[in-house]
């Protein structure tokens, strides 16, 4: 079993600790060797850190692998996997891997299941069961992977992250052949935008159709501010109608057509709870819904509800939180 370690520059990305945690369980249950792959440039530190947790780390270090390029990465990983011949390949469901996973799977002739939220080994058969939410929030599907090998991408924040410990394991250098001529898609320029990492927020205040206008958004921002006293990272989010109305940038959209989030606290304001929105908030630990419509679907998935107009409830809640001792 091989886990692709996700990184952010020269650091290990949070999703990697989740991947490694679940991978260790699976590898133990399957009774197989657990390997990690660190790919990039100057990834020695990452390889060292990860080696404390797994049986082997394949470190692929090359200046031309510094930033992600799907064609190069696919070609290099294909070379490694041909050598290692893994039964299970696990990686994060990240933007880059949305590109990499299906193409690598096709070239290796393996099955691919994307965006899984749970993995387990069926005790009787030893087959791997992957749970994947489908049809918005409404349905969970379980795929039983019978024919090895297979590739799985795991949704961020779906499983517990682990601590890597401090033991020192085996790092194996892998020297890939890099073929520049394979690169068909060229980067012209990179543009940094306001980065909203909704999927890392501890609390999110999200508005929907019921919030209506810019004034409503301002009220939500006030609540965001009030919550910052208590949570490390609080963000403003939105369901699709507010994004379509250009009241909130699309980088803050939550749902099937946006970010999937898993905060400690999710406050849904004026959100009715369409399928495509609910799929984005499945991982939220606690959900509070504020809505005028007693029959709104959002209440079915909420832990706590307030029926009332947000114009009154949100400022009242904000004031209450501000004076909380």
């Amino acid at each position: 079993m091989v886990v692709l370690v996700e990184r952010e520059g020269l650091a290990i990305a949070p999703i990697s600790f989740e991947l490694l945690g679940i991978a260790k369980q699976i590898a133990t249950d399957l009774g197989v060797v657990l390997c990690a792959v660190a790919i990039g440039h100057e990834v020695a530190d990452i390889s060292d850190q990860v080696s404390s947790f797994v049986d082997e780390v394949y470190s692929i270090d090359h200046p031309q692998l510094k930033s992600f390029n799907s064609e190069t990465y696919i070609h290099v990983l294909e070379q490694l996997y041909q050598k290692v011949n893994p039964g299970v390949i696990l990686m994060g469901c990240t933007l880059d891997n949305l590109d990499l996973a299906p193409r690598l799977a096709y070239r290796m002739g393996v099955q691919v299941i994307t965006d899984c939220v749970q993995l387990a080994v069926e005790p009787e058969t030893g087959y791997l069961l992957c749970t994947k939410p489908v049809y918005g929030a409404k349905v969970s599907s379980v795929f039983k992977l019978v024919k090895k090998p297979y590739m799985i991408t795991l949704r961020p924040k779906a499983v517990q992250a682990v601590d890597l410990g401090s033991a020192k394991g085996k790092v194996i250098q892998f020297d890939p052949i890099i073929d520049e001529s394979l690169v068909k898609v060229r980067t012209v320029e990179k543009i940094k935008e306001e980065t909203v990492s909704l999927n890392r927020a501890e609390a999110i205040v999200a508005g929907g159709r019921g919030v209506r206008d810019a004034e409503g958004i301002e009220q939500l921002k006030e609540l965001v501010k009030a919550l910052k006293k208590y949570f490390g990272k609080v963000e403003l989010g939105a369901s699709r109608p507010l994004v379509d109305a250009h009241l909130v940038p699309s980088s803050r959209q939550i749902g099937l057509t946006g970010e999937k989030v898993a905060p400690e606290l999710y406050i849904a304001v004026g959100i009715s709870g369409s399928l495509q929105h609910l799929t984005g908030i499945l991982g939220a630990k606690k959900i509070i819904a504020i809505n005028t419509d007693t029959k709104a679907n959002i209440f079915k998935v909420a832990d706590y509800g307030v029926i009332g107009s947000f114009e009154e409830v949100v400022p009242a809640l904000k004031r209450r939180l501000e004076k909380l001792e």
Partner: protein
Amino acid sequence: MKPLQLIVCAKQVPDPEGPADALRVDTESKKVIPIGIPPVINPFDENALEAALRIKNQIGAKVTVLSLGEKLSQPVLRKALAAGADELVLLMDQHFKELDSFSTAYVLSRMIKKIETYDLVLTGRQAGDWDFGVTGMLIAEMLKIPVINLAKKVEIKDGSVFVEKLCDGGYEVVRADMPALVTVSGESGELRYISIRSLQASTKIPVRIFSAADLGLDHERLTQRTICNLFAFQGERQCKFAEGESAQDKAENLVTLMKEDGIMRKIEKKGD
């Protein structure tokens, strides 16, 4: 010069904007049955169609829309023609029932090969039902053409396709030679408004229909999605309502509930 040939792959799905109780899960047959919600074109595929139509409006192009399924609704898919597509091709066959992603991509790539001259294939980044997000990539692999995933803007200049592609922390402008495939994200923009008149006019455009036999498909390569279990999501929670006469009372009661639940415990810890 021949006009640009654009191909858009559009899937018919139950409306993802529909209410959460509109889908029934039959655990026995492992099927999801939509009740009372009409099928629609997958919203991301509508984004792809809009991207194609914008290219058509700017520099001229022929836009062909492909849809694949066991049963497809012409009135639903004709929306693509009403929006401005030139041609609608339906790939309909009983063998196309519940195909897995590889088989879906196989059929679509065979159809695209049949069209021969094409410059750009556009698909949505994922579908609103099974949400795999792999079909576009697989089609490109099968056609052996460059692929760009997650476009928020697509333009054609000097025979190349330029795409603003989503990536962590912003976006990247990338370029590829054509023919190429681009998957389109919601940021690219919604499908244009369609008037009743253009909807009526679209019924006069003939629709081409192909079967598995017409495409000379290898039946052994048509495999169904194999699910071992399917169940209604157990995500329903018991909602406790914060009651009260005024908004203040409700807020007060909500905070009390949150405290009791430990949400506030966390908060208090941070507040210390």
